[in-house]
């Protein structure tokens, strides 16, 4: 009686845990800022390759990097900055051959819809009491914002008034709710809240800050290698470029 009970429970667990999936499935780990655009790109891909089911795992690029480094069964990695991709490439976890930059982004200075901010130099003005920035240590948009402000000689003044968000969405919310008079976010994020914030100025990519690039690559241990290669190639198609453009991503200038 006692033995039988154990056997049932153990075999039930074994059955559930070893259950397999994955016919022709492609798993793409991607930066959260790409959510909407990639969902649409996934649909476009399935329209061309109906046999493949595309699934996404959205998260912070750093966390996605850790998962891949530790052997998560991911096929393609799309990062929000080259830093994470470089680390994986160095460790041999992604294939250097075929690695691409598939899109870019712009950094913008934003203000609440009714705010009076007119430009970068207003950041010094006493009327601006709080500036929403993302944490430069952990969030890519914060890093680019720090570069830009330093370049324009505004960093020390801005730092004293800064409220730091732990992700770009939080930073955006500070401004959208009027808790900060201004903030710096990616253009694609600002376009999400056009009802509440307006774009005051766009930083000059390449001059104010290093270009914002989104790299993509095939994961070395990709369970579905063939589809992974096809998907990364697909990211460079004109159909994908059109989708990305519609969501506010910046086309890549040649050579960058």
């Amino acid at each position: 009686m006692r033995k039988k009970w154990y056997c049932w429970v153990l075999s039930a667990f074994a059955l559930i845990l070893t259950q397999q999936m994955r016919a022709d499935e492609l798993l793409v780990s991607a930066a959260a800022s790409l959510t909407d655009a990639l969902n649409e790109i996934g649909k476009a891909y399935t329209a061309v390759h109906p046999q493949t089911t595309v699934r996404f795992n959205f998260g912070a690029s750093g966390a996605l990097q850790q998962q891949i480094a530790l052997g998560a069964p991911v096929d393609v990695f799309c990062s929000a900055s080259p830093k994470e991709m470089d680390a994986l490439q160095k460790a041999g976890k992604i294939e250097a051959v075929g690695r691409i930059n598939f899109t870019g982004n712009r950094l913008v200075l934003i203000a609440p819809k009714k705010g009076r901010l007119t430009g970068w130099n207003d950041l010094k003005s006493p009327a601006i009491r709080r500036i929403a920035l993302s944490n430069p240590d952990s969030v890519p948009s914060g890093r680019y914002a720090q570069e830009t402000l330093t370049k324009r000689g505004l960093w020390e003044a801005a730092k004293a008034k800064a409220v730091f968000g732990e992700n770009v969405r939080q930073t955006l919310t500070y401004v959208a709710n009027g808790d900060a008079e201004t903030g710096i976010v990616f253009k694609t994020d600002a376009l999400h809240e056009t009802g509440k914030v307006r774009i005051v100025s766009e930083a000059t990519s390449g001059k104010d800050h290093t270009p914002i690039l989104y790299p993509a690559a095939v994961v070395t241990q990709a369970p579905n290698h063939a589809a992974a290669v096809r998907f990364v190639a697909f990211l460079q198609s004109s159909a994908v470029r059109k989708i990305l453009l519609r969501y506010g991503f910046a086309p890549l200038t040649s050579g960058k």
Binding site: Q20, R55, N57, A63, D189
Partner: protein
């Protein structure tokens, strides 16, 4: 509006509770016996750790353990064919680990409240330990055990940090309600985020409310007798 995260959450929390139950019952019973032994407080502390550690610490540890980098991970993946990274089963294991301390704490209190003398009496009458467990301990402790079960299930349902690390956030496969909520906020889908928030609150409220009402009812019916 996609309700898949709701069903997945119930599935993940269900398996997590089932996984946790045998180990949790044994651990709780063992700790609740009241006998002191060397190292007992050390083990109690160890069992309580997931309750106070940030879930991401547990998640990272599990990620390390289940990945290809360790012998355990390689054995699980290659020999046992148990794939826990990025699967809903993996999410269950993470949730089970996180729910374990809450279950053990509550359940061991229930076991500790069982009258020792009844067990002694049973022993003098020649009952085996297993029979005592089944016919004396469990029936006397079952109210507390049920509370422990409900709390464990609720904790597993709300688990976020460890799950995110181990299972990722894959819609339709590993994206449970808390993960779907986070993803909605990240992507700026505020209406979805609101629905998920309401769903999670209602689930937790319903679960704890039912438990509370049921316990009051039992207490009252016993009092009337």
């Amino acid at each position: 509006m996609d309700l898949a995260p709701l069903w997945l959450s119930l599935q993940v929390a269900g398996l997590a509770t089932a996984l946790m139950l045998p180990f949790g019952l044994l651990a709780a019973w063992w700790l609740g016996q009241g006998r002191g032994f060397p190292g007992k407080s050390l083990i109690e502390t160890l069992f309580t750790l997931p309750l106070v550690l940030p879930p991401t610490v547990v998640g990272y540890a599990l990620l390390l353990l289940f990945g290809q980098g360790t012998a355990v991970g390689r054995w699980l993946n290659e020999t046992a064919h148990v794939r826990l990274l990025f699967t809903w089963q993996g999410a269950s294991v993470a949730a089970a680990v996180m729910a374990f301390p809450l279950f053990v704490r509550t359940a061991s209190a229930a076991f500790a409240a069982v009258d020792r003398e009844l067990l002694e009496a049973g022993r003098t009458l020649g009952a085996s330990e297993f029979d005592l467990w089944r016919q004396v301990t469990i029936p006397l402790a079952y109210r507390g055990l049920l509370a422990a079960l409900a709390l464990g299930f609720a904790r597993a349902l709300g688990e976020f940090g460890a799950t995110l690390m181990v299972a990722g956030s894959i819609p339709g496969r590993t994206q449970t309600l808390p993960l779907a909520l986070y993803a909605s906020v990240q992507a700026g889908h505020d209406p979805d985020a609101l629905v998920y928030t309401l769903l999670l609150t209602l689930l937790a409220f319903g679960l704890l409310g039912t438990l509370g009402a049921w316990q009051t009812q039992i207490t009252r019916s016993r009092g009337d007798r």
